[in-house]
Symmetry: C2
Amino acid sequence: MSFILITCDGRARRGELETVHGKIQTPVFMNVGTSAAIKGGVSTLDLKNLKCQVELSNTYHLHVRPGEDVIYKLGGIHKFFNWDRPVLTDSGGYQVFSLANLRNISEEGVTFASHFDGARIFMSPEVSMQIQSKLASTIAMAFDECPSSVADRSYIKNSCDRTLRWLIRCMDEMKRLNSLPETINNKQMLFGIGQGGIYEDLRIEHMQRITELDLDGYAIGGLAVGESNQVMYHIIDVIEPFMPKDKPRYLMGVGTPINILECVDRGVDFFDCVMPSRNARHGNVFTSAGQLNIMNEKFKYDSRPIDEECSCEVCSNYSRGYIRHLLKSGEILGMRLSVMHNLYFYNNLMEEIRAAIESGCFSEYKKEKSAVFSQRV
Amino acid sequence: MSFILITCDGRARRGELETVHGKIQTPVFMNVGTSAAIKGGVSTLDLKNLKCQVELSNTYHLHVRPGEDVIYKLGGIHKFFNWDRPVLTDSGGYQVFSLANLRNISEEGVTFASHFDGARIFMSPEVSMQIQSKLASTIAMAFDECPSSVADRSYIKNSCDRTLRWLIRCMDEMKRLNSLPETINNKQMLFGIGQGGIYEDLRIEHMQRITELDLDGYAIGGLAVGESNQVMYHIIDVIEPFMPKDKPRYLMGVGTPINILECVDRGVDFFDCVMPSRNARHGNVFTSAGQLNIMNEKFKYDSRPIDEECSCEVCSNYSRGYIRHLLKSGEILGMRLSVMHNLYFYNNLMEEIRAAIESGCFSEYKKEKSAVFSQRV
């Protein structure tokens, strides 16, 4: 299993990651189904029609409900939700530090209260790997600390050091788990996560140190948490030269269509974000002419699809007027159709980005699309 | 357009109703999508995979939101929700008398407050026909009064007389509307509704009087509103001989799978009920071995489909354990999958009923299935 860089266009990369669940064409946007389901009633059968390559689920949420033992006994997450393509599981780290209460961090790990029922939970590099091994995702993420974006420099530095020690423990534990006969996916991959806040030197140092370890991919964590786009782009510019060319690069939790264009342009391969599904549930949909809110009065009698240029199942079958009616009436189908369209929009955008890189015209494509995406219909 | 009685097995009837939107094979169960959408995120594309022949929407709900003018301007309900098979619209009468507040009934019609925003609405036979004509459904229902099931005999008698006078007004108005060039569906059918509470003589008299009028079908209204199954079956036994053999018969708002078997056995052709979708949203699903609640702890590790005998999209792809997890986690997809299964179960039951009547073994089929359907898994 390996990553092949097919071609580059500037810093934009067109790659292919081979996994035990098939090949991933990059740049790719992963579709977020936190609890092994896309919010809004979208099934894995729907996902196949939406050009989704990789589904992303969350270790913390699945640990809380239904518990990794349920998924393990039902044959792993692929059998659990009937999806034969790659799945990436987030390590739970981000949720432990953003959702859970009453945290107590030690060198060993983190003790915290579940946001669901307040139960005390202990999570550590080993525990996160054990859960992810039972889930049997294609790609596991390392368990890291996600310090507050307003934490001071010395806190961030210490946190980076600990995250590095935790990463080594993750690698050791994943190696052990992958060698066990009872493990469902013995070829589970592990991506490390670089941190460092908004401090250039800490970012570079951390990336240098984690890339000395032989991981299957490298993620940039702790961005898109409140800093400006310009700061985010700058941090990526700063650390990109220190990321290995022959490994996939994943910018966690990003972002808008324009963010994705800018970050592909800076050499990023993997993305994920709840934005397309969360926005859709409130009627905010993306189109080839810019964003629109389908609940707007002006779409009441509109017989056109959400996006006249779109060939998704929703745009091929339903009108703005109908979807507006559904959302205004509180019909769940309105959310589902909007989410489906937005996920298709993102997955199709990535397909276009890949084609643009292949044909060496990514910067023209980016310029043209950025102008459109900043508009409202 | 006409109704053909293909064969009978006892009083059970196997028929075919030709409509401007295709043929309906009877007995049939209509799938309820009150506001032009099945609750739980099920689309008309899904309905096609669920063996749904007829979708039922509600005039009162669509009048309140989005308003019949929106649907008319978008080309009628078929274009509105992208469905080319028959649609039956309920007249709004039942909802006016069950949902709306501050009713004032006169010979002319009913003034009431919308349950949605309290706005004053006037509905009459003419108004109901005008709304349904704008919706352009395949089959319109007559606007009737649905008196309380505890109303006394003299109230019911007066109400039946008024409902008959209203029916004649419905017919006149529908005839006028069908002749207008701006009408979307000039072949809209009209079914009359027989009332009479639990009074045998009033039921018979009302049915005799409405069947003197030349309608496209006849419905039995005002049942399944709290009386026992035995009373309901008895009333049907009493009025069935007075219903024309050559017209479709529709028992409104019924019912459980056992109710349907019993009423097919008493000569009913059309059914509708919110039960399969409402039950499903709370995890109550129907199977070939009886009902079960998928949220039960015992299904936590169950890798089997909801129903091992079922070939629906849900049972072909998802396990009890997964659907239980979704419902327990509040994931909308859990509702959607359960609703889809239950609708398929009902539509497939009707297909089996039709086959049993054709092969002359309906009473054996009914006996066998009734024993199973009363069980819990």
